[in-house]
């Protein structure tokens, strides 16, 4: 919860939900749990505006509420969910690759609404897809998503008769998390009121609605973010194993992760033990059994210990994928790659040397790294100045005389990944700021472009046989230099967006490593 994260959250919310929601959120981030009136007072906003903003944030699961001292309702922001707004495009793309267009649209709808009824989702997607028999396919896609846990059911409001409760109490069984309601064809065509908000309005109870009840009324679904994160984590592990050990080993690890997809909780340290026979059975390209066993043995002998031998029992031995170790290995590789890019490969050698040997004096560093002493000193002090490397003084005399003190250098990966993560957040904010700035500077040209497109559409609609001359005239409203600056602007925007998306990968790796540390 650093200030960088708060700034990034502010930018994101401003971009997606507007300035008022962003202001409310930033106030809550700075001050923790706050009641409604207090927010309105301190943030200089009208009560109504704050109320609506909070509605919006809670609907999208970005804010949460609780009761204090039985009278006061307080609100706070869920910062992880805000930052995962960055990952929404990636979610949609992943689902598209896995399950096709219908599923992609379902997830898009779910992300847009925050929480959504199954029937609403299917209806909206059916409207968007041109396919006639679409609803069957869409329903099937929805079921697939639920079965593989990409969508989850929201807790239901407990029905209570008393007036004592100010806020709705939510209940949910473990078993109900992914239970589908039965849905008939008719219910898809019926209209219903969008009853999504559970927001308490001062101290009034919710009034009963008169619309015809649908079978799945009150059963809301939302995107299961941790499942997506699990999926991304699996992808990155498989990619790195394939890079280092080759395709067969990558396939084996992928099979292992697929088997334990739904059985392993999100923050477990390692997967369930899987026997090598089971792995060999579930490989897409069959390899001979001895090869599979040998690959597993090779993987478990590696010093990073991504795959570990759990036990020798069971046919061929039981293996687990150690998720904590793989998070550490990936985070270390990220940090090393950053050091290499920024300071050079010789500095990277010094860095890795310090990582392996834990603590070294300056002279020893020069000796082991085989780098000329002057250069080695330069790199070491440069990294020290930017906090990549830590120095510890070990005095020999009580007066800490420099000539008689040991100066030991060392490296702390945990600290460094936190520093790097904050830098990534700042970079993300910078990219977004630059993007906004570009749009502002090129506003004139963009507006003109919009106007021209609008005119073209109107002309084409009203006069279907518009002649060439008229169309050309419209085209010429834009001069060539303006056209070039427009293409340049689009190119820059593309580049910024691509960089932002790529940055997400790094953010994800570092974030999952820090989460693995804190949950251990």
């Amino acid at each position: 919860m650093s200030s960088r994260e708060c700034l990034l959250a502010y930018e994101l919310l401003q971009e997606h939900y507007g300035k008022i929601a962003a202001d409310v959120a930033s106030f809550l981030l700075q001050n923790g749990w706050q009641p409604l009136r207090y927010i309105a007072l301190k943030a200089n906003l009208k009560l109504d505006q704050v109320r609506k903003a909070l509605c919006l944030l809670i609907q999208h699961k970005l804010a949460k509420f609780h009761v204090r001292k039985r009278k006061i309702v307080e609100y706070a922001i869920n910062i992880e969910n805000v930052l995962s707004i960055l990952f929404h495009p990636k979610f949609i793309y992943t689902v598209k690759l896995l399950y096709g267009d219908a599923a992609e649209l379902i997830v898009e709808e779910a992300l847009q609404h925050g929480i959504i009824l199954m029937s609403t989702a299917i209806k909206n997607v059916a409207d968007r897809l041109p396919d006639e028999n679409g609803s069957g396919k869409i329903e099937k896609a929805f079921k697939d998503l639920v079965q593989t846990h990409f969508l989850q059911r929201e807790p239901e409001v407990e029905k209570n008769e008393e007036e004592e409760y100010i806020v709705p109490i939510f209940t949910q069984n473990e078993a109900d998390l992914y239970r589908l309601p039965t849905l008939s064809e008719e219910s898809l065509k019926r209209k219903r009121s969008d009853d999504g908000s559970d927001e308490p309005k001062a101290k009034r109870l919710k009034s009963e609605h008169e619309t015809p009840s649908v079978k799945d009324d009150g059963v809301y679904w939302s995107v299961n973010i941790s499942r997506f994160q699990q999926y991304f984590r699996d992808q990155s592990i498989v990619a790195s194993v394939t890079q280092r050990f080759g395709t067969p080993c990558g396939e084996i690890v992928r099979a292992m992760l697929r088997i334990s997809e739904v059985t392993t909780p999100a923050n477990a340290q390692s997967t369930q033990p899987i026997s090598s026979a089971e792995i060999a059975r579930s490989l897409p390209q069959k390899l001979p059994m001895e090869h599979v066993e040998q690959h597993l043995k090779l993987l478990s002998n590696d010093e990073d210990q991504i795959v570990q031998l759990f036990d020798d029992s069971g046919s061929g031995g039981l293996y687990v994928v150690n998720l904590k170790n793989s998070a550490l290995a990936l985070a270390t590789a990220t940090v090393l790659s950053y050091v290499q890019q920024r300071y050079g490969s010789k500095a990277c050698r010094i860095f890795r040397l310090l990582m392996l040997k834990k603590h070294l004096e300056q002279k020893q560093v020069e000796e082991f790294a085989m780098i000329p002493p002057k250069e080695a000193k330069g790199y070491l002090y440069h990294m020290l100045a930017e906090n990549m490397v830590i120095m510890q003084e070990v005095p020999r005399t009580p007066d800490h005389a420099p000539a008689r003190t040991f100066y030991l250098y060392s490296v702390n990966i945990q600290r460094l990944s936190r520093i790097l993560l904050v830098k990534c957040y700042k970079t993300c904010t910078n990219l977004m700021t630059r993007h906004n700035h570009l749009i502002k500077t090129n506003k004139r040209i963009l507006d003109k472009e919009e106007r021209i497109t609008a005119i073209k559409v109107r002309v084409n609609a009203t006069l279907p046989d518009a002649d060439e001359a008229q169309l050309e005239e419209i085209e010429e409203m834009m001069t060539s230099s303006e056209r070039t600056s427009l293409t340049k602007h689009q190119h820059c925007c593309n580049k910024l967006h691509t960089a932002q998306n790529q940055l997400l990968n790094t953010i994800f790796v570092l974030d999952s490593y820090l989460n693995a540390l804190s949950s251990a």
């Binding site: 690959h295 790659s337 970079t427 630059r434 790529q502």
Partner: protein
Amino acid sequence: MQTDVEVKQEPTIPLTLETEILALCNDNPKGVSDKSLETAVAGYDVKQRVTAINRLLTMGKLELLRGSSGLIYRIKTPSAVGSISGVDNQEKLVYQIIESAGNKGIWTREIRYKCNLMLTEVNKILKNLESKKIIKAVKSVAAAKRKVYMLFNLQPDRSVTGGAWYSDQDFESEFVEVLNQQCFKFLQQKCENADKDTTLSPTATNASSFASSEEVLEFISKLGISKVTLSPEDIETILNTLIYDGKVQQTVVPVANGESKKLFKALKPLIETTDFARTPCSLCPVFNECRPGGEISPENCLYMDEWMEY
């Protein structure tokens, strides 16, 4: 008159004493301890013995060492005797001290401690000896400003010159770099050959992509890029730097005669370049001062301008 006779008589006695002592030392080339000398020339008194020994020492026929059980006298080989002709006592003393340091050399301060002479005198003597080309100064690698002195015809020890990586006290970084790359290429090639051979099982492929330090040494010597002959320990230091580069991994395996051997294998990186490093912000030297709306900000960032050009 009588004193004359006495004086005359004395030289003869010491002369015979000297020859006796010399003969004794010749018989025991390893050296004669003070005690055994005493018993051997029991006929003469202490003063005469001491004078005789002093004379022999001055003439350079004998040399004095300190053994575990007292003083030892040893006969000096003729060549060494000849080399220091024309020098006086103090220089001889200094020379002996330097000689005793062998091929590690000795520092001026230590010479001073051992012979208790003044700094200026020691310096003068050292200059003298150097001009006569009897001793030489060698720059030490460990402390760049210190000079150690040793006999002219001795080879300086590895610890002083730094061994194969230093030529004239200069660290040969290009040499190390070239060796680094060659070793890595050899290991990479071995790995690729092992991968290409598809008939082998995975364990065998893995095993055949390892190389020992002797194999690498053989390859490097065949390449002939090194003027100096390298030892296995030298190659191991180079391979260690490759481990620190993250390009090579090391395992230890037990070998037939009960010892263990180190094996090395080329390693592929775990990930490609991290995506954070593709943004200009990661390489920006003023990253910490950058603030939206400030003097240095994303809006007017020059690095971003350049980056968006292509």
